[in-house]
Amino acid sequence: MPAYAYRPFGFTRPPELDGGRTQAPVAIVGAGPVGLTLAIDLATRGVASVVLDDNDVVSVGSRAICWAKRTLEIFDRLGVGERMLAKGVTWQIGRLFHGEKEVFAFDLLPEQGHKYPAFINLQQYYVEQYLIERARDFPDLIDLRFRNAVTAHQDLGDRVRLGVSTPQGDYALEARWLVACDGANSPTRRRMGLAWAGQTFEEQFLIADVEMDESPFGDPDIPERWFWFDPPFHAGKSALLHRQPDNIYRIDLQLDAGCDGRAEATAERVAPRIRAMVGDRPFRLDWMSVYRFRCVKLDRFVHGRVIFCGDSAHVVSPFGARGGNGGVQDADNLGWKLAAALAGDAPETLIETYHDERSHGAAENIAHSTRATNFMTPKTPIEALFRAEALRLAHDQPFARRLINSGRLSAPCSLEGFALQTPGTAPVAPGRAVVDAALDDGAWLMPLAQGGFTLIGFGAVALPETPGVRRVGVGRSAPGYRCFGDASGLARARYGEGLAYLFRPDGHVAAVFAEPTQAAVTAAVRRALGHAPMRKAA
């Protein structure tokens, strides 16, 4: 019996089966974390979508559990961040063991003044449940259709036609854009026959979620990420331990490359492995899975009017929590661009920059994940020798600890140097995601910098009125726009006294100004929307 009570969403007869027609401009395939994030993002911008999923329950098994600070900040913008934080297990320390000995620990958020922590652990079924419940707040803008399987699609140049199959019959649906958030085995991608070749790793890993009243972290029970190389309970291999809500613990064990995965994923085989790790503490197996992984990404994320988002566009190894978090960042990047193109505020070529920016993000995630996996699974005797010596040196030579790679955990992707950003140098360079800071009276900087184009002035800088741009002052009072106190000076220390930052709707810095003028801000907004630079009249 799993700890989580699955409640099927059921099937609602779509209007198309009775001659009706949907006007939603965006069709999203897949109601997982990425598809739901995109649907809610679009709804907050007034854009309607139809979300089609062949299933009608949330994720079976906890699957993705580590949600990074940047993801939580995106969820905050969508109105679900605080709920995720309240339910999730907050952690920020990673601890690394070699054999029986602790070798070192790292702090993923060593500074104060952030609304969200480095990470929370929260089972994917809760994340999906909370997102679906939030989506239901937009009944006129989000049309959730469960047990609606997309079986065909055709790009008609200015729109896409989908063929949908349901328990009560088939129908056709048209939308301006089709966004495939249909996972690593994406039927959309397969239907299009797109190349999906990357690096496959031979090693197999066992994931087991166990419910325990007594914490395997011992006393004090402080949730952290514990990683072992060659632990006494699992000789010669690696092991990983995380805590989730509801007294559920995630255990990840490396298996032999050639083992029989199906035989390993049975209670008889798994229970002794868990017992070796947690000793006499009673436990109940909640969910398990044996997996192998690949690192792959599509060459192009945008194919005409079909856009790939999340696992359908890229997959990585799980060490580093870069799959789910990378996918949510995809949706964050795409939502405002789709809304701007549909509203006519931006040329449709803006959608191509989603590919440029997020393909870069995926490549970064794959590079980190590949290096971590290579370190964890040496391929030759010389690789094994170097790893063994690096681990031995790490006990007393601090420099060697930098070489130990048990996964480099998801950090916000920087979009520095991409075309939408106006080049410039600043403490938070154009392209980087908003860096949070605590302001006076319990306010936070991060929520102010997301949602729409926003110009934020830090300290003594006057902000010009600019159409389509919100203005916020920090650390000073000014007439005409909202201002927040910065008595601690934290925000000005992070952003620089006297600078004005233009944030994109996804919270990335588009431009920085020492002396912002309406003309300069307008030009930066136009650039961020993908317009060609304005020519001066002759």
């Binding site: 620990a105 060593p110 005797p381 690789e383 010596e389 601090p398 070489l403």
Partner: protein
């Protein structure tokens, strides 16, 4: 055990781009026989000694390395 913060600068115990260096080192050994790898390692030790230069530091490193040898 104290918790370390991520490195922020070129402190003595900081190795820049550690993952990139490790990947390059593994790549340098790719496809070599055990004997060839042994030769490459000897050559690398001498090259790095030339780069470090300081005889006292090199002697200290030799002692640390030898101390780890069983």
């Amino acid at each position: 055990m104290p918790v370390e913060s991520p490195p922020v600068g070129n402190t003595p115990d900081w190795l820049s781009d550690p993952d990139g260096f490790y990947e390059a080192l593994m790549r340098a050994h790719e496809g070599l026989s055990a004997a060839q790898s042994h030769t490459l390692n000897a050559r690398l030790v001498l090259l790095m000694a030339g780069e470090i230069g300081d005889a006292d530091r090199l002697r200290a490193l030799l002692a640390i390395g030898r101390g780890h040898a069983d």
